[in-house]
């Protein structure tokens, strides 16, 4: 039994890693431009298909990882400059609808270009082996996803809390006017936030495809919504909160499926969104943000 629970926990942490990668970008973008970006999930799909193309071309995996980060960053920058920048200063609802439009446009142009046929790629065979840890075992794929995610998040925290650009991003997120008065070039800062957030989302796409073995043009929708839930759990606008929210959601989802009788497992998404409703009712500003710090 403990062995089973352990495996479920590893599984939940791996899924949580994907949600966390996605939720962090979601939260960064909201924090800095107050935009709920529903196109964020589609970067998972873009990352997935970029991986597929590179795998087919025989590119080695470490190089693929770097490339996918770059593809995600460039896609994020493109979306920001083409769609969101001209709408800066428009009201929130307009921005929100624009993100839905971007999402639909990305999904459908991919459908047209590549058809809705699911594709697959898989991690190299050795990734499928199981590693023994203290009498239990875990798949190398899951462990790699968890490890790389923590590395990427660590890198992100270094950027946000230890570099001048990160400091400018935090300043812009807290007080746009004051940041401009300090000489922060706000457009460049916003672009950087989109680039970093989107790069992380694209890597989540790489992991997603490798873990579940299948990608398709509409695959970004569900993880996008889940990342939104993770953000709400952690407190929208807080990077640390989004990360923890992602892990909590991943663990909760897997443990719900793993520990309850089989016939309930089809209701996992119901459970996730019930959790969203409960959090919104009980702690609308998130678990990790004190109520007084709530953002407008």
């Amino acid at each position: 039994m403990t062995q089973y629970v352990f495996q479920q926990v590893i599984n939940g942490l791996a899924l949580g890693s994907l949600y966390a990668l996605l939720a962090i970008g979601f939260s960064m973008i909201y924090g800095i431009v107050r935009l709920i970006n529903f196109a964020h999930g589609d970067l998972v799909m873009i990352g997935g298909f970029a991986t597929l193309a590179l795998v087919s071309a025989g590119v080695p995996w470490p190089v693929i990882l770097v490339f996918v980060l770059c593809v995600g960053a460039m896609a994020g920058i493109a979306i920001e400059t083409v769609v969101f920048r001209p709408m800066r200063g428009a009201d929130q609802v307009t921005g929100f609808i624009a993100t839905l439009a971007v999402s639909i446009a990305i999904q459908n142009s991919t459908l047209m270009a590549l058809s809705g046929q699911p594709r697959n790629f898989s991690f190299p065979a050795f990734m499928r082996q199981r590693i023994d840890i203290a009498g239990s075992s875990a798949s190398l794929t899951d462990l790699t996803i968890i490890g790389l995610t923590l590395l990427l998040i660590g890198g992100l925290f270094l950027i946000v809390y230890r570099t001048k650009m990160g400091q400018a991003m935090r300043a812009t997120a807290e007080n746009l006017t004051a940041a401009r008065l300090m000489g922060v070039a706000v457009n460049r800062t916003i672009m950087t936030a989109f680039a970093i957030g989107s790069a992380l989302a694209a890597v989540a796409g790489l992991f997603w495809g490798g873990k579940f073995g299948q990608i398709d043009p509409l695959m970004g929708f569900e993880p996008g919504l889940k990342a939104f839930v993770a953000c709400v759990i952690g407190g929208v606008g807080s990077i640390g909160g989004a990360m923890l929210g992602g892990y909590i959601l991943g663990l909760a989802e897997i443990l719900f499926v793993g520990l309850l009788p089989q016939e309930y497992s089809g209701y996992r998404d119901t459970f996730v969104f019930l959790l969203l409703i409960v959090i919104l009712l009980v702690r609308p500003s998130g678990l990790f943000i004190r109520q007084t710090e709530e953002r407008a």
Partner: protein, 240 residues
């Protein structure tokens, strides 16, 4: 150093600044006084590039440069040395005192100069050195004002725009802030000051402008305006 001509600014449909013209000469303290809603803050926001005028010109001339404030992006205006210390202080609450000061020096490339100025600011406001690692949001109002001033000084201002530095502060703290403003003039910083506390502002100012509903209605030396009957009645609370 600053030349504003026939400036017109709208906020939405409201005509907030109407044909405003004035100059600020190098090394002076200029005061802009007037009631709430007269358009003083809007004037400053326009000068720092955060609002764009409908018409008119505003030119900033530090040294040999010439910056068109009606079109230059705000980061370029900051780099040229026009520094705006905004109304309500607007410090970064979730950052430490040290990080706030670093943000002031954001556009500075000369790290030696930054450390020298940081040392000067901490000497000017020892409380900031004491609280250096604490969150800026936990400072008292007076301390936050000192932080906002210190942060502005780290930007190496040639022209400093000060929006209501005394607002909501205790008399002793206000005196301290005004001492610092006078000290800054001695160091060669040109200052454009907005104040509700007209008596103190006029006392310190070389030139002053009175703004009413978006227009400048009176101007003169600080001492002259302090003796002007209309100013005394409206802003100094004294009988004529």
């Amino acid at each position: 150093m600053l030349e504003v001509r026939e400036l017109n600014v709208f906020r939405g449909a409201t005509h907030v600044i109407k044909n405003v013209s004035f100059n600020v000469e190098e090394g002076q303290i200029a005061a802009l006084i007037g009631a709430n809603g007269a358009g003083k803050s809007t004037t400053l926001l326009t000068l720092s590039g955060l609002l764009r005028p409908r018409s008119g010109t505003a030119v900033f001339r530090p040294d040999a440069q010439e910056v068109d404030l009606t079109s230059a992006p705000s980061e370029k205006i900051v780099r040229a040395g026009l520094i705006h210390c905004p109304e309500g202080r607007q410090i970064f609450h979730s950052m430490t005192v040290r990080e706030n000061l670093e943000m002031g020096a954001y556009a500075q490339l000369d790290q030696k100069l930054v450390s020298k100025t940081t040392a000067e600011v901490l000497e000017l406001f020892p409380i900031l050195a004491e609280r250096s690692g604490g969150m800026a949001g936990s400072l008292s109002g007076g301390e936050q004002m000192m932080l906002a001033l210190g942060r502005a000084l780290l930007a190496q201002p040639k022209l400093l725009l000060l929006d209501e530095p005394s607002l909501g502060l205790a008399p002793l703290v206000i005196e301290r802030i005004f001492d610092v403003i006078a000290e800054l003039r001695r160091r060669g910083v040109t200052i454009l000051l907005i104040e509700q506390n007209a008596a103190m502002a006029l006392d310190l100012a070389d030139t002053a402008f009175v703004m009413e509903t978006g227009s400048i209605v009176l101007s003169g030396s600080g001492a002259d305006l302090a003796l002007n009957d209309k100013v005394r009645q409206s802003y100094l609370g004294g009988a004529a």
